[in-house]
């Protein structure tokens, strides 16, 4: 199992697209702290923030894109054609020749992803919160360790969600489009919460309660949020694993 994990870490970190994900994850949220500093300061002065402890954490949302990209490319790179002269040839063939036990392969791949995304989430969260304190000083209370852990967990679960969806779709573009459009342009999940309060428990909405105090109009306790999101991810991973085990490569 260690050798499988070793191989999957090498594969992931050897991809240029994975480095795009890593850089987006590392840089986007801290950069946003600076870019939005002026506006945030005015908003605080005008009393628009009822809970200023959310401040640094809110900025993290954009960095989660990095976790999504990593979750997607670790699978989509397996399905990308390796060349024009052999349209059916993909890395997946080499992967399954080397690691034919599919459940173990998916476990190793998921573990490699979790490791990379967890480190990314931890570094980015700490950096973003530190920068927020630096920029806004005493206006922001020092972050509770539990919320920091919640943010890193959210980061990892989003990465695994992207991983499971890409395994199901076998296509990175579809997964990335669904996740990015939903998280940044038009959040269908968020709009649904206006229609039914049950939509609060959709994976991408409920996860935010892990580290934010104010999300939409509903309150979900952080532990509940973590359990619900983990259950979503576990269910999707189970479906993905079942499909991957049955399908022809």
């Amino acid at each position: 199992m260690v050798s499988l994990l070793d191989a999957e870490l090498r594969k992931l970190l050897g991809l240029r697209t994975a480095w795009v994900g890593l850089l987006v994850g590392f840089l986007a949220a801290p950069a946003l702290v600076f870019v939005s500093a002026g506006g945030t300061r005015r908003a605080i002065a005008e009393g628009l923030y009822t809970d200023s402890s959310d401040l640094g954490f809110q900025t993290l949302g954009i960095g989660v894109l990095g976790a999504m990209i990593l979750g997607v490319v670790t699978v989509s790179s397996e399905y990308t054609p390796t060349g024009e002269d052999a349209p059916g040839a993909r890395q997946l063939t080499a992967t399954l020749a080397a690691m034919p036990r599919r459940a173990r392969l998916l476990t190793a791949k998921g573990a490699a992803l979790t490791l990379v995304v967890a480190v990314q989430g931890l570094v980015t969260t700490v950096a973003t919160l530190a920068l927020t304190r630096l920029v806004h000083g005493s206006l922001v209370p020092s972050p509770a360790p539990g919320r920091l852990a919640g943010a890193v967990l959210y980061w990892v679960l989003i990465g695994l969600l992207a991983y499971a969806l890409t395994l199901i779709f076998r296509n990175g573009i579809v997964t990335l489009t669904v996740l990015v459009v939903n998280s940044s342009i038009v959040s269908v999940s968020y709009l649904l919460t206006k229609v039914t309060s049950a939509a609060v428990y959709l994976p991408d909405i409920v996860g935010a309660h892990l580290f934010l105090n104010e999300v939409g109009d509903h309150d979900v306790a952080p532990v509940t949020a973590g359990l619900v999101m983990a259950a979503w991810v576990a269910a999707l991973l189970a479906l993905a694993g079942w499909l991957f085990g049955r399908r022809d490569a």
Partner: protein, 236 residues
């Protein structure tokens, strides 16, 4: 030793393999011949566990491929393309493959030199020519120094020098005691390389045995092949 017994494979509503059975023995080169679409690649993919059969068993040295702990030390396979992601260098590709089976890193340089890619180790696989891709695929198959080689159309895309090199390599491998199974639709090429022949047509094995046996009363392997697959007299 490769044992394929009664393999049935159905794709959609079409039965592509009808109880395919044959063996490939150590120390011999077994040619798996058939027209395009006859079921050669399908059989090899089932053998490697890439596609699942609807019936029958496929064993390499007595076990299914996936049941071997370090499969690359048991069998090496060359299928379509190199199997390397376009953005990876040949070296980076081979390194992760080696890591997955706990093979020493030194094997990477050895197999690259063996297939004549030593000077291209740092080049990205996406920039490889067809011939170079095949060589990288072969290097991958040889990483674990396996006693069994499974090669799908190994001379495709190789230049004349490459074809000669491959022929010598396959003969030497068999002489060293390896089991070599290769598929091809090129008869002339094969007659000089193989010891045993299995002919498949429309998903059915129509002949198998030693080369001389299969040629029988025909003048050449090609004649025997055309007679057995019923493609003689096809008008072009």
């Amino acid at each position: 030793m490769i044992t394929i017994d009664g393999v049935i494979r159905v794709r959609g509503r079409t039965r592509v393999l009808h109880e395919v059975s044959f063996t490939a023995r150590p120390g011999r080169v077994t040619g798996f011949l058939g027209p395009n679409g006859a079921g050669k690649t399908s059989t090899l993919r089932v053998l490697l566990g890439l596609d699942r059969p609807q019936g029958g068993t496929v064993l390499i040295d007595g076990r299914r491929y996936a049941d071997h702990d370090r499969p690359l030390t048991v069998a090496g396979a060359l299928l379509d393309g190199s199997g390397a992601h376009r953005s990876r260098s040949a070296r980076a590709h081979l390194r992760w493959v080696a890591a997955s089976n706990g093979l020493p890193r030194s094997r990477v340089g050895e197999v690259l030199d063996l297939v004549g890619l030593g000077a291209e180790a740092g080049k990205r696989a996406g920039r490889f020519s067809l011939g170079m891709s095949r060589r990288l695929g072969l290097a991958t198959a040889l990483l674990g120094d396996p006693p069994v080689l499974i090669l799908d159309e190994p001379v495709n895309g190789l230049d004349p020098a490459g074809i000669r090199w491959m022929r010598t390599f396959l003969r030497d491998s068999a002489a060293a005691g390896r089991t070599v199974l290769l598929s091809s639709h090129l008869m002339g090429e094969l007659a000089e390389t193989v010891d045993d022949v299995v002919i498949i047509d429309r998903g059915r094995v129509v002949a198998s045995g030693e080369l001389a046996e299969v040629i029988g009363g025909h003048a050449t392997l090609e004649d025997a092949f055309l007679a057995k697959t019923g493609s003689e007299g096809v008008s072009w």
